[in-house]
């Protein structure tokens, strides 16, 4: 009964400021939607710069390399080549000097050799195998990104617990008399429900727009529920142990960043050092990547 009352009260509170609530409800959906769509629409091509002393040779090389679908060729500025590589404007730069091709890259020498072979193959009209290793599926990338995002979002939602503590609202509730656990669980279930709806709406729209997601609606819903459960639980725990909402928000942002790093959101787990691979077991991002993998294996065999 207490849980139901808290949930109802939270809903009434939101209805008192309808416009604010609509923004509060729609903004996470919009952010999740943009991030998911950007992630799905990203094509697997290399951005390559060309630097050549001779203009005629440059045009010749560019037209030759443009035949490859894997490359997106443009002429690089010699004076800004290092910054272009470091900011990711180009994956690598081809330098043509006296008919000799050299590769400039910020990556390892092994990678530079690989790029060099690839260019030679293109010039000699040999077939080029897929150049970029596909690390995660679109679903896995989308789910890990949504979990990192909602780790922060659910803490924001759960920070009303801290406010209620500061405003003595919890004390008034305890006078009722009701248990503190009912208050916490009421907030928890309200936030869980809100997160499930927000995530489901975002994933539903992405699934309708994009044809690249192979999982069906049912499995996507199960995954979004898992994300909502993990993020709401962590968000509530963070708010319960934090003294102020600023410390709760910063803690959530730091946890989201660190768990994304060690969980394999940016770097595939198998390329990480052994110790980080072991550590990554505690990251919820890894759990969701593995869970999505299980669903994908079940679907595609």
């Amino acid at each position: 009964m207490g849980i139901h009352l808290v949930m109802k009260n939270n809903f009434n509170r939101c209805m008192a400021h309808k416009v604010r609530y609509i923004i509060f409800f729609l903004l996470p959906i919009a952010v999740a939607l943009i991030a998911s769509l950007v992630n799905i629409q990203e094509t697997k091509q290399y951005n390559v710069g060309v630097i050549c002393d001779n203009e005629e040779e440059t045009d010749k090389l560019v037209s030759l390399l443009n035949k490859s679908e894997k490359l997106c060729i443009s002429i690089a500025n010699y004076e800004e080549q290092n910054a272009d590589l470091l900011t990711g404007k180009y994956r690598f730069i081809i330098r043509l000097n006296d008919n000799k091709i050299s590769i400039i890259t910020m990556e390892s020498s092994k990678k530079a050799e690989y790029y060099s072979n690839m260019i030679e193959n293109i010039i000699n009209s040999k077939s080029v195998t897929s150049n970029i290793k596909k690390t995660y599926s679109k679903e896995q990338q989308m789910m890990e990104m949504l979990l990192a995002l909602f780790l922060v979002m659910t803490t924001i939602n759960a920070s009303s617990l801290i406010m209620d503590k500061q405003n003595q609202t919890i004390n008034r509730f305890l006078f009722a008399p009701k248990r503190k656990l009912s208050y916490i669980m009421g907030n928890y279930f309200y936030n869980l429900l809100l997160t499930i709806i927000q995530l489901s709406v975002a994933v539903f729209i992405v699934k309708v727009i994009s044809k690249e997601l192979t999982l069906d609606f049912g499995k996507l819903f199960l995954l979004t529920t898992a994300i909502a459960l993990i993020s709401t639980t962590l968000g509530t725990i963070i708010c319960l142990v934090s003294k102020s909402d600023v410390s709760a928000n910063i803690t959530a942002a730091s946890i989201a960043t660190v768990s994304s790093l060690i969980g394999g959101a940016f770097i595939p787990i198998n390329t990480m050092p052994k110790i980080i691979q072991t550590l990554s077991a505690i990251s919820p991002i890894r759990w969701i990547i593995e869970l999505t993998k299980i669903f994908l294996v079940n679907t595609m065999g």
């Binding site: 509170r13 008192a16 400021h17 604010r20 923004i23 509060f24 903004l27 952010v31 991030a35 950007v38 629409q41 990203e42 094509t43 091509q45 290399y46 951005n47 997106c72 004076e79 800004e80 080549q81 290092n82 910054a83 470091l86 900011t87 990711g88 404007k89 180009y90 994956r91 890259t105 910020m106 990556e107 390892s108 020498s109 990678k111 530079a112 995002l149 922060v152 924001i156 920070s159 406010m163 500061q166 405003n167 609202t169 909402d245 600023v246 410390s247 928000n249 910063i250 942002a253 730091s254 960043t257 660190v258 790093l261 060690i262 940016f266 770097i267 390329t271 990480m272 050092p273 980080i276």
Partner: protein, 251 residues
């Protein structure tokens, strides 16, 4: 000067702010550097790359911290004493800005020195300019933080969503890994990220000896700071200073 000293000491005594400005960048650079060690070659090591890109990101993250520092009087219920003292709003805002910027600047200097010594980060060539850029960027984030803390009615809502654009800007700017994209939409979004221009300015200065973008970034930071401070002084809300901790929260 007394007010400056007061605010400065109070910021330096705030263990949370200091920890977030020193410990967080060091840990995140060490972690990212270790994880991405094999992805970098001779041009730059992973530790050096993240030393350059993560300091501006951490400075941008401090917007929320400064906004909270701006509302410290309200949280400690001493706002009325400040308002009844013979101090103008302008003095109060500007002093607070410089005190917070100096305190955070010292933290950034410590982090900057740690990275230079441990990772042999090539800061020396344009050392002064890069450090000056960090300081002006701190000034900009501090002024934006003050604006949010002292002039917005719905600060709680704004600060709740502050982390999201900051992280999006960071990802687009290549803070965590360089974004090499062929998509025009993402290229456009990358160009909209202020962190991208700061990172590019630093790399151009350190590795290509070109200073134009770095100097432009410094100028933009100073101009934006002047503009934000002017708005903060004009739009200063006494209610935010007195009851900023609770006035927008529905009871």
């Amino acid at each position: 000067m007394r007010l400056f000293k007061f605010y400065f000491i109070r910021t330096m005594k705030d263990s949370f702010t200091i920890g977030y400005s020193i410990i967080f960048p060091v840990i995140i650079v060490l972690l990212m550097g270790l994880l991405r060690k094999s992805a970098f070659g001779d041009l730059i090591t992973s530790y050096q790359y993240y030393s350059y890109t993560l300091i501006p990101f951490c400075i941008l993250c401090e917007i929320t911290t400064v906004a909270y520092l701006a509302q410290e009087e309200a949280r400690k219920k001493v706002g009325e004493r400040f308002l009844s003292a013979p101090i103008s709003m302008k003095t109060l805002v500007v002093t607070k800005l410089f005190a917070v910027t100096t305190a955070l600047g010292i933290c950034h200097f410590i982090v900057f020195s740690i990275f230079t010594i441990i990772f042999h980060t090539k800061f020396w060539g344009g050392l002064f300019l890069v450090f000056f850029l960090y300081q002006t960027f701190t000034l900009f984030t501090a002024s934006l933080g003050l604006l949010l803390g002292l002039c917005t009615k719905n600060f709680i809502i704004i600060k709740n969503f502050m982390n999201i654009p900051i992280f999006l800007f960071a990802i687009l700017a290549g803070t965590f890994f360089p974004i090499s994209t062929v998509s025009t939409l993402i290229k456009l979004l990358v160009n909209l990220s202020p962190l991208y221009w700061i990172n590019r300015g630093i790399f151009l200065c350190m590795y290509d000896n070109k200073y134009t973008i770095l100097l432009l970034c410094i100028a933009c930071n100073l101009l934006a700071c002047a503009f934000l401070i002017a708005i903060t002084v004009v739009r200063f809300r006494k209610e935010a200073f007195l009851y900023g901790d609770s006035f927008s929260y529905e009871k």
